[in-house]
């Protein structure tokens, strides 16, 4: 399972970078979305894929019994998703406004500041 996830994550990164290299702004944005998802999946996978119980300590016990999922990695992903959501929402608004001002979707046309 881990191998499959690793391949999937690799494909996601590759697709993201490919999309970011395209000239269209919208595809650039799709690339960014893929990239943040790939990073989240990566954290999810490196923390260990456990098919087990939630990490709750039963009454009276001192530690979790049996295999349990790592809660910290999931907390990280949750935070990263929220941040990614906020940043990407901003990027969407930015691209929309940029399109209204520049009137083009082509990154090659945006050389005014170089």
């Amino acid at each position: 399972m881990t191998t499959m996830m690793a391949i999937l994550i690799g494909c996601l990164y590759a697709a993201a970078i490919y999309m970011m290299l395209r000239r269209s702004m919208v595809k650039l944005l799709i690339g960014l979305i893929l990239l943040s998802n790939a990073a989240n999946l990566l954290i999810f996978t490196v923390a260990g894929l456990e098919r087990g119980v939630p990490p709750l300590i039963a009454k009276g016990a001192e530690t979790v019994v049996g295999g349990s999922a790592d809660p910290l990695a999931q907390a990280l992903i949750l935070t990263a998703i929220v941040i990614g959501f906020g940043v990407l929402a901003f990027a969407v608004v930015l691209l929309h406004r940029a399109y209204e001002v520049i009137r083009t979707d082509d990154m090659n046309e945006m050389k005014g500041t170089d």
């Binding site: 969407v92 608004v93 929309h96 406004r97």
Partner: protein
């Protein structure tokens, strides 16, 4: 006016008047149960923001804005202030910065009510999320006009 949405329908509009209060109530429910069970400020805020976005689609921009009463950015400000201020009560008691404080209020009929600084923080998150999501949506709507 509502040309840009092309979805003005009597059914949606009427349905919204019924669903909207329920959605808002549900968002509060999610917010308050969040400490021990699935839910919390973030998810509750998203539901509330979705409710107001529904109003926007069903009716129009001014009515959705009127429903909120304040500018969504002000909501973000209040939320952020609440979340930041919830870190301070711990200092009065002498605990470390941001340590959770709990107060138990006895209520005559319902038993006891537990209040805490995490709850204040969560309310802050709730308002902040509503504000942020609606700022984004309103900005895009204004750009359409």
């Amino acid at each position: 006016m509502s040309r840009q949405f092309n979805m003005r329908s009597l059914i949606l509009s009427t349905g919204t008047t019924i669903i909207l209060p329920l959605l808002l109530l549900f968002s509060l429910f999610l917010l308050l149960r969040g400490h021990n069970e699935p839910g919390g400020g973030f998810i509750g805020g998203l539901v509330a923001a979705a409710a107001i976005a529904l109003k926007l689609f069903a009716d129009d921009y001014p009515s959705a804005k009127a429903l909120l009463r304040v500018h969504p950015l002000q909501l973000v400000g209040i939320g952020l202030a609440l979340a930041a201020l919830s870190s301070l009560p711990s200092l009065l008691v002498g605990d470390n910065f941001f340590t959770a404080q709990w107060w138990t209020l006895p209520l005559p009929i319902f038993g006891e009510l537990k209040l805490s600084t995490p709850l204040i923080f969560d309310i802050g998150v709730f308002l902040g999320v509503i504000g942020t999501v609606l700022t984004v949506i309103f900005t895009l709507v204004e750009a359409e006009h």
